[in-house]
C-alpha cells in the first residue's frame, strides 16, 4: 500500500502544475479509489458472490450423495412445494417476523416512555432492560426453555401443567415473545433517542393548548418518532426473518414443525446432506426478504415525510 502512496505523489509532482494534479480529477487524487477497494473486494467476494451462486445451485442436485453436481432444473423447488415445507416456511417466517417486530417494538416503546426523563433511577433501569440484548440468543433460548418447560419453573410457580412450548398454535407466539424480550432493550434505546429529539417547546405548546398526556403522545410524540419507528420496524422485521438461535434453543422448530422458520429448515436439511435443497430455501428466503424490505422501506420513508 505504501508503494501506491509514493506513486500517486510522484505523479502529481511530476506534472508539477501549481494546483497539483493535471489530468486526474482532484477527487481522484485526494480520495483515491483504492481506499474503497479492500472493502468492495471482501464484500463482493463473501457476500455478493454467494448470493449470486444462490441463483444457480438451487437448480442442481448438489448434495453429499453425488460426487459431482448436475443441473436438474426445478426439482428441488418441486420437492419443497410438494411436501408443503415451502409454504409452511414462508408462513411461519412471516408470522414470526410480524409478531417478533410487534412485541419488540411494543415493549421497547413502552419502556422508552416509562424511562424517558434522564434521572439516575431511569438510567439504571435502562441498563437493566438492556441486559437481555447482551446475553447470547442461544443462552436466552435455554433460559426460557428452563422457564417454560412442562416441568419448568413457570409451571411450578403457577402449580399448572401448561405445555408452553408444546402447542402447535401458541408456541410460535411464545417464541416471538421471547424474541421481543431479547431485543426490546435495543428498540428502547432507539425510541429514547427519538423522544429526546423532540423539541421541548413543541411539547410545551401542546400542553398550553390543553392536551393531556395521551393526546400529546398521539398528536406530537408519535408522529415525531417516525424516523425511530422506521429504523426499529425495519431492523426488527428483517432481522427476525433471519432468526435461528432462539427457535433452535427453545423448540428446535417443533412441535410438529410449527415453528420451523427458514433458517431452521436450512439447518436441518443441510445436516441431512441435501445442500441444493437447503440452497433452494435460502433463495426463497432471499426473495421473501426483498419482497418485504423494499415496499417496507419505501412506505415507511414516505410516512416519515407525510407526518
Amino acid at each position: 500500500m505504501t508503494d501506491t502512496v509514493v506513486r500517486t505523489r510522484k505523479k502529481s509532482s511530476e506534472q508539477g502544475a501549481p494546483k497539483g494534479v493535471g489530468r486526474l480529477p482532484r477527487a481522484a487524487v485526494h480520495h483515491p479509489w483504492w481506499f474503497a477497494l479492500p472493502a468492495v473486494v471482501v464484500f463482493a467476494g463473501f457476500f455478493l458472490v454467494p448470493n449470486l451462486l444462490n441463483f444457480y445451485y438451487p437448480f442442481t442436485n448438489w448434495s453429499s450423495y453425488h460426487p459431482d453436481i448436475a443441473f436438474t432444473g426445478l426439482d428441488n423447488f418441486r420437492t419443497v412445494v410438494d411436501d408443503g415445507s415451502l409454504l409452511r416456511a414462508i408462513r411461519t417466517t412471516l408470522l414470526y417476523a410480524l409478531l417478533a417486530a410487534l412485541f419488540q417494538n411494543g415493549f421497547g416503546l413502552v419502556l422508552a416512555l416509562l424511562l424517558e426523563s434522564d434521572t439516575r433511577f431511569n438510567r439504571f433501569f435502562r441498563a437493566v432492560f438492556f441486559l437481555p440484548v447482551l446475553i447470547s440468543a442461544l443462552a436466552t433460548g435455554y433460559v426460557f426453555q428452563a422457564l417454560l418447560d412442562q416441568d419448568g419453573a413457570l409451571n411450578s410457580v403457577l402449580g399448572a401443567d401448561i405445555p408452553w412450548l408444546g402447542s402447535t398454535t401458541w408456541t410460535l407466539v411464545v417464541v416471538t415473545l421471547i424474541h421481543g424480550w431479547k431485543w426490546m432493550g435495543l428498540s428502547m434505546l432507539i425510541y429514547l433517542a427519538g423522544l429526546k429529539g423532540i423539541p421541548g417547546d413543541m411539547l410545551e405548546a401542546a400542553r398550553m393548548d390543553g392536551a393531556g398526556p395521551w393526546r400529546t403522545f398521539r398528536s406530537v410524540r408519535w408522529p415525531m418518532l417516525a424516523p425511530a419507528v422506521t429504523f426499529n420496524v425495519t431492523t426488527a422485521l428483517i432481522g427476525s426473518m433471519n432468526t435461528f438461535d432462539i427457535v433452535q434453543a427453545t423448540t428446535g422448530g417443533g412441535p410438529a414443525a410449527s415453528t420451523e422458520v427458514f433458517n431452521i429448515y436450512m439447518f436441518r436439511v443441510f445436516g441431512q446432506g441435501l445442500y441444493a435443497q437447503a440452497s433452494a430455501m435460502s433463495l426463497v428466503l432471499f426473495l421473501v426478504v426483498v419482497a418485504v424490505a423494499i415496499p417496507l422501506v419505501v412506505g415507511l420513508r414516505r410516512r416519515e415525510q407525510l407526518l
Partner: protein, 274 residues
C-alpha cells in the same frame, strides 16, 4: 404529573424489571448453583445444597470453555478490526467522491443491510477456496456480513465532517494515506464505538453462521461450543451446567457494556435515527 403517576411509574418500572429481567436471571443464578438432582426440574427455589464452585469448574473444564473463548476471540476480534478498517476506507471514498460509479458502488456495498447472507452457497464457495472450517474463512464471512453496517454508518458520519480539516492537512503536504490515518480515523471514533458494539453483539453470540462455516470441532466458538455440549449427552437436562456456562459466557459482553455504557448507549442511538 398526577401524583398517581409520580409514584406509580417507579413502582411499575421496578415490578416490570423484577418480572421480566429479574426472574430469568434469578433462575439462571440459582440453577447454576444447584446439584444435578435439584436442577433437573428447574424452579426458582434456592438450592438446598450449594455447589456453585463445582458446577462452574465443570462447565469451564468439561465444556472446553477456555478453548471456545480463545476461538471466539480469534475470529471476532479480527472481524471487528477488518469491518472497521476496511469500512472506514470505503466510507471515506464514498462520502467524498461524487460520481455515478461511486454511488453505485455505495448502493451495492450497503445492500447487505437488508439482504440475508446466502449461507449455504457461502459454504460451497469456501470449500472451493480451501477456506471451509478455517478461521480466515469465518473472518471473511463475518467481515462481508457486517461491512454494510459499518460503511452505512461511517459514510453518513464522514459526510457531516467539514472538508476543511482534510484540506488544511493537504496544504501542509500530507498524503491521502496520512490524512486517512491521522485525521479521518480519529474523527470517526464515536461511530467506531457504535460499529464495534453492534458487530460484537451479533458476532460474539452467533451460532448459525459459525455452524455452517466452522462446523464445530476444535475451532468451535464459545456459543457454538455451548450448543454442542448442551445438545450432547453430557449436558442433556443438566441445567446446572448449562447455566453455569451461560453465566461465564455472558460475562465478557456484560463487562464491555458496564465499562463503555455511556459511549455505547449514545453511539447506538445517534447512529440509528439519522
Amino acid at each position: 404529573m398526577t401524583p398517581m403517576w409520580r409514584y406509580g411509574r417507579p413502582a411499575l418500572v421496578i415490578l416490570l424489571a423484577a418480572l421480566a429481567v429479574g426472574v430469568p436471571l434469578w433462575l439462571v443464578a440459582v440453577t447454576s448453583a444447584k446439584p444435578q438432582a435439584e436442577a433437573i426440574k428447574p424452579n426458582l427455589d434456592l438450592p438446598h445444597h450449594w455447589q456453585p464452585t463445582d458446577n462452574y469448574a465443570d462447565a469451564v473444564g468439561q465444556g472446553e470453555m477456555l478453548r471456545g473463548f480463545v476461538n471466539s476471540l480469534l475470529v471476532v476480534v479480527p472481524s471487528v478490526v477488518l469491518v472497521l478498517f476496511l469500512g472506514a476506507g470505503a466510507a471515506w471514498v464514498f462520502a467524498r467522491r461524487k460520481s455515478k460509479l461511486v454511488s453505485a458502488a455505495y448502493a451495492l456495498c450497503i445492500s447487505g443491510l437488508l439482504l440475508p447472507p446466502a449461507v449455504i452457497t457461502i459454504v460451497m464457495e469456501l470449500r472451493q477456496l480451501g477456506l471451509a472450517s478455517t478461521r480466515p474463512g469465518m473472518i471473511a464471512v463475518y467481515t462481508g456480513m457486517y461491512l454494510s453496517t459499518s460503511i452505512f454508518f461511517m459514510t453518513g458520519f464522514i459526510r457531516a465532517i467539514p472538508m476543511e480539516l482534510e484540506e488544511a492537512a493537504r496544504i501542509d503536504g500530507a498524503t491521502p494515506w496520512r490524512i486517512f490515518l491521522r485525521i479521518v480515523l480519529p474523527l470517526l471514533r464515536p461511530v467506531i464505538a457504535t460499529a464495534t458494539i453492534m458487530v460484537m453483539l451479533y458476532a460474539w453470540s452467533d451460532i448459525f453462521y459459525a455452524f455452517f462455516v466452522l462446523g464445530g470441532g476444535d475451532r468451535a466458538t464459545l456459543p457454538l461450543n455451548l450448543y454442542q455440549v448442551a445438545s450432547a449427552q453430557l449436558y442433556l437436562n443438566n441445567w446446572h451446567l448449562v447455566f453455569a456456562y451461560v453465566v461465564v459466557m455472558s460475562l465478557p459482553m456484560v463487562a464491555v457494556f458496564v465499562v463503555g455504557q455511556r459511549k455505547i448507549v449514545s453511539g447506538i442511538t445517534s447512529g440509528a435515527v439519522k
